[in-house]
Structures are given as C-alpha cells and as structure tokens.
Assembly symmetry: C2
Homo-oligomer: 384 residues x 2
C-alpha cells in the first residue's frame, strides 16, 4: 500500500516508516523538523544524536534494500501539503505531524500559539488535501488517551450511548484534557468528525497512551544507534517511563509529580507500530470515524517508579524515588477504567512491561551515561 | 463598567455597543472590518449602506452625547490584541470577532482556512491577553445553539449529567455542528474550557440561536438608517428570517431548504442586546464557564416562511414560498427540545415574534426595495 507518514521524523514517525517499509509497503515520510528545532532551542537534546531524514533513508536503504521517500517541508503551508499529496497519491496517510509535548504547550504564549497553529494547521490542510486529491484515502490520525481526561465514569472507546429523560443518543465520548497540547487533539477530533460527516472521509483516530521504549524489530537488527528513534529524557519532550530509565542510570532520583497516583494507559513503542499497521491494513469505511483506544496496560506513576527502582537496584544502580511539587494541574487521585478492545480484536498481541524488558532498556541506556545532562530532568514548567 | 467589544462593527456588535453605552457603560469597540471585506468580495452588500466605525462613533456622540472608543485592527495579530487590552484594561470583554457565516465557511478551502484561522486566532489571543493583562476580566463569548446540532435527546444548557454503569459524571454537553463555522465555535469552547480550568478565567458562553430584526431601542430614536446595523439578505451572510422579509418585499419566493422542518431556537436582536447586558452586569465567577442558551422561541423554517407569507399578504405583497434543494447537509426532520432557563432567570423578558413585529420589519424594508439585488438570494454554496 502507498503510505504517507506526516511527522515521519518523530519518536514514532521514523520507526513506523521502517516497520511499514519492512512489511512491503511503499512508504513516504514528510517532516518540518519542528521537534528537532524545539528541542535544540529549549536544550532538550536526546540521549544520542539522530541522523537526519535523508541520512536515515540512506541507512535504511543500505540496511534493508528498501526505499523510503523523504520530503522536508512545513505541512501547515498548503502549497507543501498539496504538492506532496498530489505527487504521491497515497492510499493511507498517517498523521503524526503535531507538536507533541504537553509541557512545551504550557511554556508561554508563543509556544502555545505555535502548538495551536501547527497542530490544527496540519490537520486542516490534510483534510483539504485528501478531499481535493485522494478522496478515498484513509487518514490515520494520532489522538491521545489524554483527550478523555480522568472522568469519574468508565472511558469507552471513542463513543458513548447516553440515555437521558427516556431518549437515547450516541455521542462522541466527551473530552476534557489536561494541557493545551491535548486540547489541540480534541480540536482535531472536532474538525475530522465534522468533515467525516459532510465529505464521507475515511478516518481512524488512535487514542494513544504514553509510549515507552527504545528498540523495535527493525532497529534492533543493527548494533549501533543509527536507526533508533529520539530518546528524550527531559521534562519537556521525554515521556515518563523513558525519563525514569535515564534518571535511574544517571543516579538521579526518579521525579514523581505530587502523590504519584495519576493513572494512565501505556504501551511499548513496538505495539504502537503494530497498531498503526493494523489500522492502515484495515481501513475505516467512507464516512466512518473509527476510534480505537491504543494502550495495553494501566499503571500509576508510583507503580512505574517502583518497577524501575526495583529492576535498577537488581542491576546494581543506586535508584531512589522523590516526589516533587506537581507542575501540572491534574487529579492526583482519580477513578480510571478505560476500555481497549478494538486493537486487540484487530490482532494486537501486547508486549507487556516485564522486568526483562525494563532491564533491557536500562542496559541499552548505560553506554550513553556520559551524555546525560541532569539539568534537563526538571524544567519547572508550571501549568498555573 | 469598562466594556470592550471585539467585533464591534458587526450585525450584533454595533447595536450592543450603543445599548451598553446608553446604559452608562464605558464602551470600546474593535474590529478588522473582516465582514465588510468578505461581503464586498462575495457580492453580499447589505440592504442599505452602513457608515464605518469612526462615523458611527461620531453619529452616536452627536445623538447621545456619549463616547465610544474605536480601534480598527486585526485581533488575530497579538500586537494589536495586547495593545488594546493593555490600554483599555476592560472589566468585561464581549467576543463577537468571528467570521459569522456558515455558508461562507463552506465556500472553498481558502474561506474555510480564513474562518478557522480568524475565529480560533482571536479566541486564543483574547485568552492570552486576559491572562497577561486583566486576569479578573470577564469574557463574554458568543457561542451558537448550532454547536449542539440536532441530537435525539433534550439539549440542556451547556452541561449534561451522564449516568453510566452505575457511576455519574457531569460533562460539557456533547457538541456536533453542521458547518465549519459552527465547528470553530465548538473548538473555541474547548480552548476556553481548558483555560478556565487551569487559569481560573471568568467566562460566559452565550449559545445563541439565529437572530432576526432590524431596529433596537437605540437606533429607532432616529428616523434615518444611520445607526442601524447591517441588513444582509443574501444566502451567505443573511440569517433566515431577515432574508425571508427581504424576499417578501422583493416579490421573490421565500426559499425554504428541502422539507423545511429544520427547527431552531430564534431571538430578536433586541433580546440579544439585553442578554449581553445581563451577562456583562452579572459576571461569571473566577474558574466558572457559565453557559446560557440564548433564544426565546422555537420555529421550523416552514413556520417562519408561513408567518412571513401571511403577514406579507395582509400588507398587499405577492408572497410565495418555494422549496429549493437543500445546499446544506442537515436533518430535515428531527427531534428538538432545547432548554433555555438561565437568561429568563437572570431577567430577560422576551420580545416574541408577533405579526405586528413582522409587519414592522416588512414596512421598514419596503423603502429600500429598489436596492434589493435578487441574485444575492441564492448562491448555491453546497456543503457536499
């Protein structure tokens, strides 16, 4: 299948490109290097350097014999988006091209404006380009479990049947998120759901939990880091478990926000790739907004810290856990029971977070210990 | 009270400015003339010419002895918004500054992009300016009843209590709108609700139905049209009842879309002004998103057409009704039972749509009969 990946340079974008390419899909990636620029500007460089997209493409060609088409350009610019979609005529378009960091979106007015402009601008141009040039193409959009927030009732898979005063209506499950970044994802959903109804677009919205992990089936076939993705361990762009792993290796306390009873659904990066492939290979129908909750296991922050602590200690690391003032405005104790049937029914066999897997991550980080810059762990970007 | 009206040149903006000024408030208006530009570009000029804001301000001064502060500038530009809010330090800010026409938002990609950029850009800058310069100011935002769409259950006033599997949660009432314009209002709500929670802003969201009417208490004290608002009768910027009135005067069939059983909640422009004043004079609390459904009566399109037909005939006009292919994608038969308690409890005494009121509107349009350009009635802007 011809698959175009917007945001194909990102933490998930490049591994997805290799994964789909390895499975025989004809893959193209596009990216503006926004994440790289923002990380550089904000002193959030990843643990080891990551080659640029053209270099990655050549490495992958050398390694696998397969070609990935590369475009570097700003997809909020209609001319860039239109030319790309017209040239490639993709059958599926994966949309990762969003500013992905909640703390960055709360940094200041400019960062918030950039997040709003970039995220909605790409989604809007994508909708318009599909309508204009490939109306039957399938849009696979990354949403986030964070769109749902932490309501006091079960979180269903995208939709909810409401019975009210003796009548019934199926609604999009109400969303209320905890950061501007997450709120832009809700706004994406509003846009997509509107145009699905009027233009009969095919859309899958993958409501993903925080992702962890370093290696994937494609990257681990090499023994250097050249095919690996970004490993951010800073408070701004690093996700929680990856950050804990690097903190454990650095001998820096695992920084738990507040009480640490914030519960979320997590998944391994390997499962992300499989979920994306499952969605791409079984497209939504015309006029369908298919919503899938994309996570495999539920943990509290305390549970994650304890797991890293225990495994790290076994490996001889001096791991400690420290509660720090919560920079976010969020419930630190809450009900959380989210559904996640759809992807399992489509064939996902989860990679669970075993001690072996944690130990493997730690061992892969240890050789880069000297690269760790401890000031990056806590940036004190507060929501208030 | 110091009140700043964003979009103060619009159909509702200017009448609101005069109304609040007449009641002793210190009023400032800001506008980019976007509506004027779009009307000119799209051959949607109103029934009679409307003086520009500086002229209106001078006329109002002459007429009432009161001063209204005028700024012409693009509020999607942070520098303009910031300077305005810093200079005026308003206690209440009424936000009308949005591209207001559903059909325009569905015209083509550029019109859609402009609507998205303008509407969200102003809302975002407003939030940031309030946060930065007047954190205690009250934002009075115009939403629309169209955000709710036409669900099969009662429409409540902004919120709904959902009971689900034995647990309860209060949510924003789920929204799904019928045009991109209406969808941008949903997205505004997402933004405002997020920042209300994290920054404790004071926000009132007025979910308004289609407005009709020409004269207000302030304008009718003059016998020329110089203080009147825009009367658009075209398909793009004219609201349905105003359009029917002008069609009746022109001897043009009242154009009902499809079956005409689309039901909506309507209100007279005089009631809009009172609702705005009630909201301004009794602000929402810090951290409160107060949502009020702003309409007074519910009609189907057929009922409105029949009323205009009957009153027009009595006045000797040759009024006919014609069903035309519905350019919109919407339910033409649907359940509709929206709540509207809040504004009545705050003191609104509705101006109902009597035959006398319809006759008065018709009689005020008749002197401008020669200005009517019949090609403006149907523009064939289709949603599909």
């Amino acid at each position: 299948m011809r698959v175009l990946i917007l945001g194909g340079d990102g933490y998930l974008g490049w591994p997805t490109a290799m994964h789909l390419s390895a499975r025989g899909h004809e893959v193209a990636v596009a990216d503006s290097y926004l994440r790289r620029s923002l990380c550089r500007e904000n002193d959030c460089d990843p643990l080891f350097p990551v080659p640029n997209l053209h270099e990655r493409m050549r490495l992958w060609k050398q390694h696998s014999g397969r070609r990935i088409d590369v475009t570097v350009g700003d997809l909020t610019d209609w001319a860039v988006m239109a030319a790309l979609v017209q040239r490639l005529k993709p059958e599926a378009i994966i949309h990762y091209a969003e500013q992905p960091a909640a703390p960055y979106s709360m940094l200041d007015r400019k960062a918030a404006a950039l997040t709003l402009h970039n995220n909605l601008g790409v989604t809007f141009n994508l909708i318009q380009a599909v309508r204009a040039f490939v109306p039957d193409a399938h849009i696979v959009k990354l949403g986030t479990m964070g769109e749902y927030g932490t309501p006091n009732i079960d979180i269903e898979e995208g939709w909810i049947d409401v019975e009210h005063k003796g009548r019934r209506q199926k609604f999009l499950y109400p969303r209320q998120a905890g950061s501007l970044y997450h709120t832009t994802k809700i706004m994406d959903t509003d846009l997509l759901w509107f145009y699905v109804r009027v233009w009969k677009l095919r859309v899958t919205d993958l409501m993903q939990g925080p992702v962890y992990g370093l290696t994937t089936a494609e990257s681990e076939t090499r023994d250097d880091t050249s095919l690996l993705s970004f490993l951010n361990y800073d408070e701004m762009f690093g996700t929680v478990l990856n950050r804990f792993i690097v903190q454990a290796v650095a001998g820096y306390p695992l920084t738990v926000y507040g009480k640490g009873n914030q519960i979320r659904g997590y998944l391994n990066i390997r499962d992300t790739l499989i979920c994306l492939r499952l969605a791409v290979e079984k497209p939504a129908a015309p006029g369908e907004l298919r919503i899938l909750n994309q996570f495999t296991e539920v943990f509290s922050v305390n549970q994650l810290a304890q797991r890293v602590h225990d495994v790290g200690r076994k490996l001889g690391l001096d791991v400690t856990i420290k509660s720090v003032a919560n920079p976010r405005i969020e419930a630190e104790e809450h009900y959380y029971n989210p559904a996640h049937h759809g992807l399992l029914e489509m064939g996902l066999t989860p990679t669970y977070l075993t001690d072996d897997l944690l130990a493997d991550m730690i061992e892969r980080v240890i050789p880069h210990r000297d690269n760790i810059v401890a000031e990056r762990f806590l940036r004190r970007i507060t929501w208030a």
